[in-house]
Symmetry: C2
Subunit: 400 residues, 2 copies
């Protein structure tokens, strides 16, 4: 049995590269950007008016001129109109280009306009006011978003503003989620008194959907021949197999044998953790396909998915390691076994901005009914069994 | 001008009810559940074996029997086989139903099996061990997820396990995102030297997508007749209009007039905040449609969307008010104007589990290039201008 740290290291040693693909920029949300985005022009591309009012020369005001003839009205999107006389101004709108002959904008609130003339009201005034100068945000060629970031709504906005309607993003792995065993029936079926419904596969699929992975689902019945065929087929056609259940010492668990027959090498089996102790991880030498076989217990599956698969996915997509987040335990907690314990918690901050992890009461690691109330796992060290209120541990938020 | 608190109150006074709809459970991810989910059977529905091994009567072991004849092998999903003799056992697999005549499971690790017999190895043993008892998680009819929660992967799992393949969820509002002004061109077009590309609409659409709102986009040119027609049409066909830009005092901002002509009543205009001071909010009396008109500045739009629209959406969908999260300022910061300031920050926790907000350097509220690095807004009170490192303020995370 290995430790959580060793398991993480072995999983991270299997980081893969699945290439890139081009997507329409709006569909790229949540993918990892695989190219640098650079400004195609200065941002803003011109001296941009930020208030509706008039544009004029500051020097004219300095000379004492208070009444300006409105030479023209210039909307945003219109070609600028230039001033010829020092007592002229241009009535100008937010978003418009400042004429080269002007340097300052006075907003309507500080003006009186009548009969084609604008009269300055007493107000503070600075040369260059109410302008967003060309290139103030970025110069042409400057980086606006670096390869390796997640395409967020802000990146979508940046892509739009520099005219990148197609984005190169990292391709996500092809994932098959496998359930097995004749005790499982589908959601729409009526289970007999000794059957239950499949649920883990749907949980995994839902979590992966948030990461833009549209995983396929497969159920394998308790039959050695079918199991071998299906597993072998998956190994050839998918990058990752995520199994929940079916990897145990049981007489009807045909999956370990099928994995072996298909050439999948075990990299580890069993991790000193709860839930999730029987977690099995392997690799197919030739195809490079990876097999994460999670225990069938729903909470174990959920924990291993977040703690190992998503950590691996993050590294595989070239994202920086997740920021380590700490939370303080909200209540005393005891856990005796010599295993690292992943405690289901909800999170809140107190008025000192300290993140507090409140344990979710449950019947143990199999109690997935509490998972709906859980926001994170608090990772409690193996070496101890008593954990005191206020002590700080690493926390894994499901939304991170 | 009203305060942020007043603006929030006025927005929240316009909470709406858009009814419910039924979705296949997998598609319900991220929607708000509109029905209670109750266990259709006990969970687990039977005394469930949690380790591969043998099932036997504890009393037989107490009597000193050490060798048990394997009467049958029972897989998960199979009808249980009953014991007839006290020295019999059933070889049994994880997930199987415990026979009524047995009460305890001994795992393979604590056994030696040969020639149809299982011999107990010395090991600690408790009556009822290695079982997950019927109803231990939930009894038939117990609530497993309450109406009013967001459908998370865990709720998907619960729905699957109780056979709810269709879920009743809250219908989200129909949203139209409106940009306006002849200075804006589309992402694929080449702007002239006095034009820029549309970007805010795409940002808003991307944020809404995360909330399962598939918003439509509309661009309105600077033409009073077209503007009136389009606005009037939107009011009739959408629940919410989200505008960015176009609501100012400018001569070519035809939208305020079109809104008035269409019967939209202004509820407020201008909030004592930066960015986003010119935020305008209104309601159509007859249709109940709401108009959030955000300033054109991209950071202002982003902030108002999170601070007001998503707060309103949350309440409209019947979710509890968002948990207030606090963060400590990571650096000293000065902001003089008498406005509530929304500071762009990144977040981290220190080893005391305190959430620290690090200001993102920028050129002011128009600098949307920094938005890609921003994780949250820290909300700094209006009454002060000096904010010290370590002081704690409310924070708005974009992922919450």
């Amino acid at each position: 049995m290995i430790t959580v740290a060793e398991a993480e290291k072995l999983v991270l040693a299997q980081v893969r590269e699945y290439g890139t693909q081009t997507l329409p920029f709006e569909q790229a949300l949540g993918y990892v950007l695989a190219e640098d985005l650079k400004a195609d022009r200065d941002l803003p591309p011109f001296n941009r008016v930020t208030m509706d009012g008039i544009a004029l020369k500051y020097a004219s005001v300095k000379k004492g001129i208070k009444i300006f003839r409105i030479k023209a009205t210039q909307a945003a999107g219109e070609k600028p109109v230039e001033l010829a006389q020092e007592d002229e101004c241009i009535e100008i709108m937010t978003g418009a280009v400042l004429p080269l002959s002007a340097d300052t904008v006075i907003r309507y609130e500080d003006l009186e306009i009548s009969e084609g003339k604008a009269t300055l009201l007493p107000a503070e005034m600075k040369q260059g006011q109410n302008l967003h100068l060309r290139g103030a945000d970025k110069k042409q060629g400057d980086m606006v978003a670096k390869a390796g970031v997640v395409v967020s709504p802000a990146v979508i906005s940046l892509a739009a503003s520099i005219g990148k309607s197609q984005l190169l993003v990292k391709t996500v792995p092809r994932v098959m989620i496998i359930s097995s065993g004749d005790e499982l029936v589908d959601v729409d079926e009526t289970p007999s008194s000794f059957q239950i419904r499949k649920s883990n596969s749907y949980t995994i699929k839902a979590v992966l959907k948030k990461h833009n992975i549209n995983a396929d689902l497969l159920h394998i019945p308790d039959d050695p021949v079918i199991t071998r065929q299906k597993i072998s087929n998956c190994i050839q056609n998918y990058d990752v197999l995520l199994l929940s259940g079916g990897i145990s010492m049981g007489r009807f668990d045909y999956i370990p044998q099928a994995l072996e027959d298909s050439g999948v090498e075990k990299l580890f089996h069993k991790v000193a953790q709860r839930p999730g102790k029987p977690f099995w991880f392997g690799r197919h030498g030739q195809s490079g396909a990876l097999v994460f076989a999670f225990p069938g217990n729903p909470v174990a599956t959920f924990m291993c998915l977040h703690r190992y698969f998503l950590t691996w996915l993050n590294a595989t997509l070239g994202l920086p390691a997740k920021k380590v987040t700490y939370a303080a335990l909200g209540n005393d907690f005891t856990f005796k076994p010599e295993l690292r314990y992943f405690l289901q918690v909800t999170l809140q901050t107190n008025e000192q901005a300290q993140l507090i992890a409140i344990p979710v009461e449950g019947n143990g690691s199999g109690d997935f009914a509490n998972l709906a109330d859980t926001e994170a796992f608090l990772e409690l060290p193996m070496e101890r069994s008593e954990f005191k209120k206020g002590e700080v541990f690493r926390v894994w938020r499901f939304t991170d």
